[in-house]
């Protein structure tokens, strides 16, 4: 059974925001709501990296745990969906989510937020697949058409992968192996700090070797 997942490859993402645009276009998302966003860390500095983030479809989703009306649910494919008819717009899922995935059309006074909206992995909602009602509330249901999320399929550099976790993890693993920096990238020194940090006398020598 497929377990749907997203992977964003930080080495490949070029911050084109194509995934954001694809998502907005595919689902005709209203102004102010962004199911997906691209965040750039260390922008403008050598070594900057961009990551595309949306709902990560957690296994133990905090939003499901805190929702006071139990509106968020998980499908057999591990996709976290929600029912907008039940949503009360309390914003608890927004407090709980580490990725800032749940979005609200309003941020009004007296907590008037409207119904929560978030990435559906292009799997719509509880309404009949591909129906008008489903499209209006949740956007297109590509999963029921045998397609993957628009953002991942549109990604020009294939930085964003979506689909069965096993398959896309394989693709990513291949990439990392092909980049061929395995033992240099990861290892004891990276995970637990370099030995020179524990031995201050050797620090100048180590720095000189680096530059």
């Amino acid at each position: 059974m497929a377990r749907m997942k997203f992977i964003s490859d930080a080495e490949r993402c070029i911050e084109c925001n194509g995934c954001v645009t694809a998502c907005k276009n595919e689902h005709e998302i209203p102004w102010g709501v962004n199911r997906r966003r691209v965040v750039t860390i260390d922008d403008g500095i050598p070594g900057e990296r961009s990551i595309s983030v949306a709902c990560m479809h957690c296994s133990d989703a905090p939003c499901i745990a805190v929702c006071p009306v139990d509106t968020i649910y998980k499908t057999t494919e591990g996709i976290v969906l929600h029912d907008k008819d039940l949503c009360i717009g309390c914003g608890y899922c927004f407090y709980a989510c580490p990725f800032g995935a749940p979005q609200f059309p309003q941020d009004g006074a007296f907590g008037l937020r409207g119904k929560m909206d978030k990435c559906t992995f292009c799997a719509g909602g509880p309404e009949a697949d591909g129906s008008e009602a489903e499209f209006k509330k949740y956007g297109r249901n590509r999963i029921s058409e045998g397609k993957l999320p628009a953002c991942a399929e549109m990604c020009s550099t294939k930085a964003l992968l979506g689909g069965d976790g096993d398959v896309i993890a394989d693709i990513y693993r291949n990439r990392v192996v092909f980049r061929g920096k395995g033992s240099e990238v990861w290892g004891w020194g990276t995970a637990y700090g370099k030995p020179e940090k524990q031995q201050p006398q050797q620090q100048p020598a180590a720095q000189g070797a680096k530059s």
């Binding site: 860390i41 900057e48 905090p62 927004f94």
Partner: protein, 355 residues
Amino acid sequence: MRTSHGSFVWRLFLLLALLAPGLAAAAPQPFVPPSSPESAREQAQRQQAQPYNNAPMWRDVRSEREHQTQVRGIETGVLVQSGGETWRELRNGPVSLIGGLLLVAIAAIILLFHVMHGSIKVTSPPAGKMIQRFNDWERWVHWSVAITFCILAISGLIILFGKNVLLPIIGHTLFSWLAILSKNLHNFVGPLFIFSALVMFVTYVKDNLWKSYDFRWFKNMGGMLGGEHIPSGKFNAGEKVWFWLGLFVLTIIVAVTGLILDFPNFEQGRAIMQQANVVHAIAAILYMALSLGHIYMGTIGVEGAYDSMRTNGQVDEAWAKEHHGYWYEDVKADRTGQKAAAGVAGAGQVPQAGR
């Protein structure tokens, strides 16, 4: 022509002068603006030492710092905010577990107390003469606070416990409808409650200042634990605790945290809302637990107490003498500015609603 030619040479010179430091600085060390954080410098260096190793960047991701993004909104630049997990653990764990146990336990203790002791009776026969205890304004203010409090308490309980208590019984659709009603009532009645409580504080504070005789009241909890009634002013020490701990301290806590949660339009971040929600829930549960005691004492717990908040706000002189001895003396000596009610009701007769 000459001038433009001269300016061209000048510009070329300027360009070279500007480029020269840049060319000279094409050393292996990457240029990182001095204002950038330490992690950025580390990341830039790491890219040269160990290409593809983004560990400094990933550490920065967990720092909950705002990064660069094209998407506008609250905290959109924060990639991972871990506070939500702590909030979830607290809210779904100790806050709802201990809080729920506390409320049920307090209710059970009050029930048990009432079954064992019954209500506190007025020992002397009714005097028949009525004293004005609370005037129209005081009663209006009290009931404004009381009714808004009850709406907030019930709607709040539905939001915190309804998922596990009511939802399995009434189903998703009906419960969602109830929760939408609760949420909106809670959000709109909240500010009304804050205003009412403020007015109530101003109205009632002069009679709730601590007096030396109040401390003697605690010895046997004003006669609740047996023994004699300790005379007290217009409010006894128990009521003063409720006033200062409930109406003053807890109202401030629930009001401040509640307003943070109620007005997300001021673009406050998630961290403050998570903290506010936990504090709000704890304070509100304590407030409700205290209110159970107050509601019990004001209605069936003490015979005759409810008359003071009923339609005409009058109490029997015998009740006043027994429960609020000093206040009774003050009224008799006309030191409170309150006049004794003119009407003389028949002995044992319930005070009439009309004036």
